[in-house]
Amino acid sequence: MDELLGLKHSKAGAGLPVILQVDGATRRFGDVVAVDRLHLELVRGEFVTLLGPSGCGKTTALRLIAGFERPDEGHIHFDDTDVTRWSPQRRGFGMVFQNYALFPHLNVFENVAFGLRSRKQPAEEIRRRVRAALERVDLDGYQERAVQALSGGQQQRVALARALAIEPALLLLDEPLSNLDHALRVRTRAELRALVKELGITALFVTHDQEEAFDLSDRVAVMHDGRIRQIGSPRALYEEPVDRFVASFMGRVNSLSVTVLEGERGEGAADSLGPRRPVRLRNGARWLVPARERESGAERAEAGTDGLLLIRPEDLAFRDEGERTLEGIVRDRRFRGALTLYQVEVEGIGPQGGPELLELAGGAGGPSEGDRVRIGPHPEARLHLFPARQVGA
């Protein structure tokens, strides 16, 4: 239960050593609050991702931690030391940039050796460590190449080797895979995670790609409008989003306009999915939906107000007549390999009582376009009820 609710993941677990702690860091650019009271804790050896759409403040958050920006308010502690006022140089975090930021006037060896030379290492030691770093990313033997002569994937690995060569206690990655083509990106993800885990490095990754975040991370922090909306394991975020934004950012979702009703006596009794609350759909149907109260600040829709009911496509199924079903016409079906997506038009459930297209993920052998069908959430489905007006937004 705890795991599903993301409780265990919302804070670094007790007993585990917290290595990075961000306390209420805020950064404004003029009137724009890029990062708004950011709280984040990283445990040693953990891989955490900041996930969000462009402009959500995730890159600024990373730059605050790297030291390229100073927070207007708040503190950043690293290894129990306040590093808020430290320069990036003094922090010594390794960083991989989105466009790699390789030095065009230096060859591969000198790029990787850059940080070691700043640390005044002896020449022999530098050679040994550059070689070790390049071996790790499969580029040993490329020492003398000009960086412009490398492919995008190779440049990305040089950038990683350069950051790893200084043996950083924290590795910061700013969308380092976004310039690679899709196939290479997927392969590099796996290699990156394996490498970071093998070296036991704590890593903070920034991306706008949900799939990438899920592949790489132990925990994901979803950012929106400069704030972390929810932090937890990929599964917790998917199954128990705390608000509409997180729910829709974690994959496809249907949303139904409903009115939240006062529960009658006997209703609301807990079953295996927790307590339930009644809602009225726009077509007049009355549904009981799970309504757990969460500790993690999930928004609660008050009785008598408008609400939004979110249902993932895979939680909808073709059903026989019964409770919590809707009648509609299949308008489109798309074969997607492991599943088939059906677009079903249902009359009377739109926000103004009009028709609404619902997406359903099912097997390939379902009904055809134009077929009249009956659909509904299957009994175990996770439905999410949020207020129609976002609280606190």
């Binding site: 030291g67 466009n99 930021a101 390789l102 030095f103 065009p104 850059f114 940080g115 700043s118």
Partner: protein, 555 residues
């Protein structure tokens, strides 16, 4: 911390050396015999001679713009829009006049078209005239020299504008039924307006500041620059200051008007577009005629250069009444290395130009860093101060330095530098700040600032980042700027003539005194050395830029 210190020192240097001296000029123009007085301005605006000089400066400048445009724009169209044998060679050679330093170009014209010049005497002999057919004196002579040396700006800017132009817009106009003339006047020329305005501005400012041509060919023709020189030399200091203020104000006024006019007139090609196809010239007559015209034209452009080289081999006193000199010798070049009268100025110029350029390189590197990377209050002011010396004629800067650094008041930032070795390097330094700063700014803009952050994240301090990342990346562009500044300082004449002392006289002053002593050979030899250095600098500089490291494109 370092940044703050840098910003303060940049402002300090620019205010002290660029702004402060000109405030002295302004002050001295209204401070007469220990009292505030507008008497100087009253005398200026009631004197016929002074108003003539003001009017002369303005009309010479406007005339130079018009004439340069009339030569430069058609040439640019010819070389970019039409294809014919030898197009590339002639196209490149059309930029030749840039390779003559101002004073050197003027004396080459004198040897060629002057009263006793080669061309003049040839015409005189051909028609059996008793007297030279013309005298190269007055406004038209100045205009001729200006047109020769400044049409290049129009030529280069128009050619660049045409190359940037999206050819499909002209095709669109033609497909909509516009004829060739209509397409040219309604589409192509308006889209080239920014190039024309930029060239006009450059020609106008250069003409306004021009000193060599009016000084040598002016005769009784007055312009402000020569008027300032005359007033200064004859000790009418208040009048010199008033004239300087007027010249600076007129220059800045026109700069302001043209910049306002330019704003919002930048056209960028929308989408990829296509280049304009060159029209192949097919008529056999035209194909034969154009190369001949081309060769003739290039010969005409090259004549001053050739004349200069020819005269540089003439021994002293050997060329008096003949059309062409009769005796030639290498003595003039030999004495460049043996006769202290000649090599001292060469050595002086080398020293002073190198010193000034070294200062420019260091100072402009940091100023460009602040202007491109910095986020601070007063950045616009810093940019204005950096570019101000470009807008101020060399005569103005020289007068300002002469006034400011002729008294010993350490508490007011004044020391006696006039009459010392240091005043000329200082003048060269100030005059070349905009040029070198532009080069450095362009280089800083070329590479992604994230490289500096990468360096810091790898543990390099700010100074280390500058040394290991910024300097190597900026150096190619900065070096080219420095090279051009160095050559300009080497041949500098306009400020030098107001500030030099005999012991630290630069090459240009020595050319002038050899000319006065009628040793044309020695003067020409010095001119050839300057022109050769300038050519080398351009050739080397161009190569350096193209072969240099282009920074990574922004992500």
């Amino acid at each position: 911390m370092i940044r703050l210190w840098l910003i303060l020192s940049a402002f300090f240097v620019l205010i002290w050396l660029v702004l402060y001296p000109h405030l002295f000029v302004l002050g001295d123009s209204v401070w007469i015999d220990g009292a505030l007085s507008l008497d100087g301005y009253r005398r200026f605006f009631t004197s016929r001679a002074e108003l003539e000089a003001l009017w002369g400066s303005v009309w010479i400048s406007l005339g130079s713009v018009l004439l340069s445009a009339l030569i430069g724009i058609p040439l640019a169209f010819l070389f970019t829009r039409y294809n014919f044998p030898g197009r590339n060679v002639f196209g490149a050679l059309a930029a030749l006049p840039v390779l003559l330093p101002p004073l050197v170009g003027v004396i080459a014209f004198m040897f060629l078209y002057g009263e006793s010049g080669i061309f003049t005497r040839s015409v005189q002999a051909a028609f059996g005239l008793e007297r030279p057919p013309w005298r190269l004196v007055g406004g038209w002579a100045i205009l001729l020299v200006h047109a020769y040396s400044m049409y290049v700006y129009f030529y280069l800017f128009t050619a660049a504008g045409l190359a940037r132009l999206d050819g499909s817009t002209a095709e669109a106009a033609e497909s909509l039924g516009a004829g060739r003339w209509r397409t040219l006047t309604r589409v192509t020329l308006p889209m080239l307006a920014p190039s024309f305005l930029a060239a006009s501005l450059l020609v106008f400012m250069t003409s306004m500041a021009s000193f060599s041509a009016p000084y040598i060919f002016g005769g009784g023709f007055r312009v402000l620059t020569t008027q300032i020189f005359a007033s200064k030399v004859s000790g009418q200091l208040t009048m010199a200051m008033v004239e300087t203020v007027i010249l600076a104000s007129v220059s800045l006024l026109f700069l302001w008007i043209l910049s306002r006019f330019r704003r919002g007139r930048e056209f960028a090609a929308v989408g990829k577009g296509t280049g304009t196809a060159r029209t192949e010239i097919r008529s056999p007559w035209a194909r034969a005629l154009i190369p001949m015209l081309g060769i003739g034209g290039v010969f005409l452009l090259l004549l001053p250069h050739l004349t200069l080289v020819l005269v540089s081999f003439v021994p002293e006193g050997a060329w008096t009444i003949q059309i062409l000199p009769t005796r030639y010798t290498l003595d003039n070049y030999r004495s460049l290395f043996s006769d202290p009268q000649l090599w001292v100025p060469v050595w002086n110029s080398l020293q002073m130009a190198s010193l000034a350029t070294a200062g420019n390189l260091v100072f402009c590197f940091f100023v460009a860093y602040l202007l491109v990377r910095g986020r601070f209050f007063g950045k616009g002011a810093l940019l204005t101060l950096t570019m101000l010396p470009w807008a101020l004629p060399g005569t103005v800067i020289a007068v300002a330095l002469a006034v400011t650094f002729s008294a010993n008041q350490p508490w007011f930032g004044r020391w006696v530098l006039v009459g010392s070795f240091w005043i000329l390097p200082l003048a060269y330094f100030i005059r070349n700040i905009p040029l070198v700063a532009q080069a450095a700014i362009a280089s800083f803009r070329q590479y992604d600032p994230v490289l500096e952050e990468a360096s810091q994240s790898l543990g390099a301090s700010w100074t280390e980042t500058m040394r290991r990342v910024a300097v190597p990346l900026v150096l190619p562009g900065l070096a080219v700027g420095g090279l051009l500044a160095w050559v300009a300082a080497l041949g500098e004449f306009v400020s030098s003539i107001l500030l030099y002392t005999h012991r630290s006289r630069p090459i240009s002053i020595e050319i002038l005194s050899q000319l006065r002593a009628f040793d044309f050979g020695a003067a020409a030899a010095l001119g050839v050395v300057l022109a050769a250095l300038m050519t080398l600098a351009f050739a080397f500089g161009g190569r350096f830029v193209r072969g240099g490291i282009a920074g990574e494109p922004r992500g």
